[in-house]
Amino acid sequence: MKQETLKQILSAQAAKQPIVLASNLQTNEQLTLVPGETGQPDWMMTEVDAAIRSDKSRTTDAPDGTPWFFNVFNPPLRLIIVGAVHIAQPLARMGLEAGYDVSVIDPREAFASAERFPNVTLINEWPDEALQHLELDARTAVVTLTHDPKLDDPALHVALQSAAFYIGALGSKKTQAARQQRLTDAGFADAEIARICGPVGLNIGAKSPAEIAISILAEITQTLRQEHS
């Protein structure tokens, strides 16, 4: 690989843009390709689009039989945490470790402070406004942790109208039932409300904030790897 090619991939990663490195395994020719690229053969751009969409790198034979390897570099998965509460701290740290680009939303600046949340994007806005700006897509997980319907519910409204692959909401079964009723009253169908994982996280008997964060991240991982893909 040419150093220049490596720099192109790193620039795309820094700009959070998808990029594909196509390598001819016989001649060792290499191309960096982005969606919508012109001047390349159709079969190649079809592979590029498919690799980006599925987030899976693959080896494919060109029409002339030459093997090419398409290595996809997608922007990181995103984890958006609503509520800068205690559980959010280990969840943000673990999310970073698992490769997520982590954002924490809380209008209360004393909660969402850089001291409590190093290395994550902090957004001191109302959750629904913040989420609308974040353009939730199929590579995004949203978790609400505030316990406060004033903050959690508007966030869930936005999340339910998005393609987010995971939506989780903290709260007991009782809290969950009350929330479902409010969402029904707000006009959401049962199938939509069923997208919300709650009580949030896998049932592993978690007690401490870190353990609860593990159960949430485990459930996000399970959804991503077993159901989503």
């Binding site: 690989m1 040419k2 150093q3 490596l6 390897f69």
Partner: protein
């Protein structure tokens, strides 16, 4: 000789993997600092291969490396071959599996097969 270098590189894998997940960024940083670097990428897997297609390992001319292309089974051999590739500046495709003659030395105990694209980083 193979035994001692294997131990050494395994230790490095443990330490380095935690320190830096971004293999390509590390490769670029090494190249900028004047090091010679090779990249190994998993291009195909069969069976229960431990790391998915696209996983990468960056290797420096002094055998320091970051990333992974398996659960640690073949990294030692990939690093050795990478040092040759850095010298020859020639990319090559490597194949590993249980059917390999050296299965119990550098093969995959998990029963999977892995194909690796090994390429030196070049200035041109």
């Amino acid at each position: 000789m193979a035994g001692s270098s294997m131990t050494e590189t395994t230790t490095r894998l443990d330490n380095k993997n935690r320190a830096d997940d971004n293999v390509l960024a590390q490769a670029a940083a090494w190249a900028d600092a004047g090091h010679k670097v090779a990249l190994a990428t998993v291009i195909e897997t069969w069976g229960s291969a431990p790391r998915p297609v696209g996983s990468q390992l960056a290797i420096r001319e002094d055998a320091t490396f970051v990333g992974s292309v398996s659960g640690g089974c073949i990294e030692g051999d990939v690093v050795t071959r990478a040092l040759d590739a850095i010298q020859s500046e020639a990319p090559e495709v490597l194949e590993y599996g249980v059917a390999d003659a050296m299965a119990w030395e550098v093969g995959l105990a998990c029963g999977g097969k892995i194909k690796i694209y090994l390429e030196p980083l070049t200035v041109a």
